[in-house]
């Protein structure tokens, strides 16, 4: 009887608890669409992580499809690797990379609604997905307006080309940074996810924003991380993805390698609104 009373109390508490208290979980993976074995293995780790920490969507950071991009390739390089996640109802929200065909925005599995750049909200988080292949005035105006009108407590932006990176192949894209960073800072963006460099790197917050480079979801440029004073953590020995959880004013994250090992973890506090 006492057990039954406790159960009823727990259920009642769960029912009356505000929805905003529920942590929001999602995964982040970039430069993944090779269709090769490493992509499948990362996908398995994502599914395993979901079993422990359920999430219902994934941010794709661009280069979601390498090489040929015919209908069968969407099966081989996206639907089969992530079959377990897709079967579990997980949705993928994609940004376009330089290897993606512009028409991939029309592919239903990427949930882009036919747009190169778009936005959606989940709980306390406003997500803004940009196309940095072509950062045109129209897109900049749209991003400015969208971020200005966002009322969510967290603002997360993702796009393919990193504004800050210590990757050896490309490094920071300073030209994009000059254009985008003032806008991100002005609107109080908290976190930015990018790919393009085939490594994992977390940077020391720049002007209050935490930048992640997570471009080793399928591709890898082994040993390419040139650590500097702006590198907070990094991993360039194997493929990896990010698992993120936002609860209240804290965002916790884990970078998980292909072997399942956690290679970076931490908690980020929300910036005060500007």
């Amino acid at each position: 009887m006492r057990h039954l009373t406790c159960l009823v109390l727990v259920l009642l508490l769960a029912a009356v608890a505000p929805a905003g208290q529920e942590p929001l979980r999602f995964a982040v993976v970039g430069d993944a669409g090779t269709g090769g074995r490493p992509q499948f293995e990362i996908a398995q780790q994502m599914a395993a992580a979901r079993a422990a920490s359920p999430f219902d969507f994934v941010l794709l950071l661009g280069d979601n499809m390498y090489g040929r991009q015919e209908p069968q390739d969407f099966v081989d390089k996206f639907e089969r690797p992530y079959a377990a996640l897709l079967g579990g109802g997980v949705r993928f929200f994609a940004a376009l990379g330089n290897h993606d065909k512009p028409d991939n925005r029309l592919y239903a599995g990427f949930n882009m609604k036919g747009e190169r750049y778009y936005t959606f909200a989940r709980g306390p988080v406003r997500f803004v997905i940009l196309d940095t292949n072509q950062l045109d005035p129209k897109q900049l105006g749209w991003a400015d307006d969208t971020l200005a009108r966002a009322t969510e407590r967290w603002k997360v932006v993702s796009f393919h080309h990193p504004l800050y990176s210590n990757g050896g192949r490309h490094g920071s894209n300073v030209e994009l940074r000059v254009v985008l960073e003032p806008l991100l800072v002005r609107h109080g963006v908290n976190v930015v996810f990018s790919g393009h460099e085939h490594i994992y790197e977390r940077l020391v917050p720049q002007k209050g924003i935490t930048y992640f480079v997570a471009g080793s979801g399928g591709q890898l440029r082994k040993g390419d991380l040139r650590r500097s004073a702006t590198t907070a953590a990094g991993f360039d020995e194997d493929r990896s993805f990010l698992l993120v959880e936002i609860a209240g004013d804290e965002m916790s994250f884990r970078a998980i390698a292909r072997t399942g090992r956690t290679v970076d973890a931490g908690v980020i506090g929300r910036r005060p609104s500007t």
Partner: protein, 557 residues
């Protein structure tokens, strides 16, 4: 020395590559400050300043389509037009093939960048290798045609700028006002620039087209020099030829714009290379020349003829000389893509196409084309090696005219001096200057109406490449109201005769009327013996004490 160097830089449009070199260095040494500065300057330079440069190019094209211009006769157009189609097709095929093979189809829209031909780059290289040769007009027509085609493709930016209503109405107003100004015989370009220009610019801006093209549709409305006999009157206080005045006033500001354009657009991180860079290089250096040679071969097989003295080996060299895309390539790149890595890849490729210059010289040397034909093998070998080394060490654009300077003949120098004299804005149909060159020493003879012209023409000749010294034997004609009346009277009747209308509408009317103490001398060129006789008859029907007819008959080739 400094003045000569400056003049050389300005005359050869070298400020743009210099601006590009400064930008490249700055961007790679201090990228944050460079990109911040370049972003600040981008709008006024790319969207407004470049309108002046494109107006100047349009003006040159419009003038060349007038009688006796390089583009007047359809026979001069046909083969270069076919070659231009080959250039566009060849470069587009290689470019699109490369990006498709690399599975980066987002770069496809950049093909006009690879097809672009830098007019100044091509002009100075071809002129350096083929002085006074049909290769030059062939190359220029080809370049203009390709750039017009590519401009039409990238003019619309509606996919990445907001389109607002009202553009068509504003453009109609701009063109209507230009037509009215033309009807009212406005003699200066200022009302076209200040009244019609902003209307046209705003119209294109609203419609989502590149506003730097704003003056292009207005330039054809500029009144051209010989439309009215009034314009033949010698005016010592300033030129009243609208197009010439436009060029005269804006030449140096445009050079500043080109420097800034190179500075704003050519600054890319050397690590910013990518598929677009390699595709563009392959298309410009291989696809475009192959397309030109293939299309010309097909046209010749179909019955067209290469111009006289223009051989197949010359065609190969001209095709390589068109590989530099610099100014127009950068312009098209900024039209095709907004800020981003794709634009950076293309910009880097556009800058690197400068290696087309040493390639063109090397091909000319190997094929013994143009200046490299003929004997003196050892000397030429030594010179070619020196030129090649200089080209690699300095830069392609600097090497071309430098190489030309070493091998200029007296005939080439005379042609260049004559061209400078013709382009002198105060040189009128009442002046006559003869040019002779002996081992680089230029002798100027003849008669002009004002003393300041003697000095100015001497200075102009001294600036020409290869000139060692100038002997100025030009005389000033005596001041005489009777002579003035004779000049204007004969000019009015001669150029008012329908037989000479074709000559009257030229920028530099070919028949000159020299009057000294009542004695008239006709010099210059006419198209037929009939014209020669009629001109003399008109002169004799005046109050002239005597008439000497030195007109030559030239048959169009």
């Amino acid at each position: 020395m400094t003045t000569r160097l400056w003049r050389f830089i300005v005359d050869h449009f070298l400020l743009l590559p210099i601006g590009g070199a400064v930008a490249l260095a700055w961007a790679n040494l201090a990228p944050e400050s460079y990109f911040t500065t370049a972003r600040t300057l981008a709008f006024p330079v790319n969207e407004i300043g470049m309108a002046l440069f494109l107006a100047l190019i349009t003006q040159e094209i419009v003038e060349e389509t007038l009688p006796h211009g390089a583009l007047h006769s359809w026979r001069k157009w046909t083969l270069p037009l076919v070659a231009a189609a080959g250039a566009a097709a060849g470069s587009a095929l290689v470019y699109v093939g490369w990006v498709a093979w690399s599975h980066e189809l987002v770069l496809v829209e950049g093909w006009p960048v690879a097809a672009a031909v830098d007019l100044a780059f091509t002009y100075f290289i071809v002129k350096a290798i083929f002085p006074r040769h049909p290769a030059l007009p062939f190359a220029i027509v080809l370049a203009v045609a390709v750039d017009v085609l590519a401009t039409a493709h990238v003019a619309s930016r509606q996919s990445f700028v907001d389109v607002r209503p009202g553009g068509a109405l504003l453009m109609a107003a701009a063109l209507g006002l230009a037509a009215l100004l033309r009807h009212w015989k406005a003699r200066t370009f200022w009302p076209y620039l200040l009244l019609c220009g902003p209307l046209s610019w705003w119209a294109l801006h609203l419609d989502g087209f590149h506003p730097a093209l704003a003056l292009v549709p207005l330039v054809p409305f500029f009144p051209h020099k010989p439309r009215s006999l009034e314009l033949f009157v010698d005016r010592p206080h300033g030129p009243h030829d609208t197009p010439a005045m436009f060029e005269h006033v804006w030449l140096h500001p445009i050079q500043a714009v080109l420097f800034l354009f190179g500075f704003v657009n050519a600054g890319v991180l050397l690590s910013g290379y990518g598929t677009g860079t390699w595709a563009l290089l392959a298309a410009a250096l291989v696809g475009k020349p192959l397309g030109i040679v293939a299309a010309t071969s097909l046209a010749v097989a179909a019955g067209l003829h290469l111009p006289a003295r223009f051989h197949w080996r010359d065609l190969v060299v001209v095709a390589l000389a068109t590989s530099g895309v610099f100014t127009f390539g950068l312009f098209f790149a900024t039209g095709a893509y907004p800020i981003g890595p794709l634009l950076a890849e293309l910009k880097l490729g556009a800058v690197l196409t400068g290696i087309g210059a040493p390639l063109a010289f090397a091909a000319a040397w190997l094929l013994r084309a143009g200046r490299f034909s003929g004997g003196r093998t050892m000397t030429r070998t030594r010179h070619a090696v020196a030129r090649g080394a200089a080209a690699l060490l300095l830069c392609a654009a600097l090497a071309a005219p430098a190489a030309a300077q070493q091998v200029l003949t007296d005939e080439d120098i005379a042609a260049d001096v004559a061209q400078h004299v013709q382009r002198y804005v105060f040189f009128t149909i009442f002046d006559d200057v003869d040019v002779q060159v002996d081992h680089g020493v230029v002798t100027l003879a003849g008669r002009v109406t004002m003393p300041y012209k003697v000095e100015a023409l001497g200075e102009l000749a001294a600036r020409v490449d290869g000139v060692e010294a100038v002997q100025n034997e030009i005389r000033t004609l005596p001041v005489s109201q009777f002579d003035d009346d004779l000049r204007y009277g004969i000019a009015r009747r001669l150029y008012g005769d329908p037989l000479f209308w074709h000559a009257a509408i030229q920028v530099n009317p070919p028949i000159h009327i020299v009057v000294e103490r009542g004695a008239v001398t006709l010099t210059g060129v006419v198209l037929s013996e009939v014209e020669r006789r009629v001109a003399e008859t008109i002169a004799r029907s005046s109050l002239a004490f005597s008439v000497t007819n030195k007109l030559r008959v030239e048959i169009e080739d």
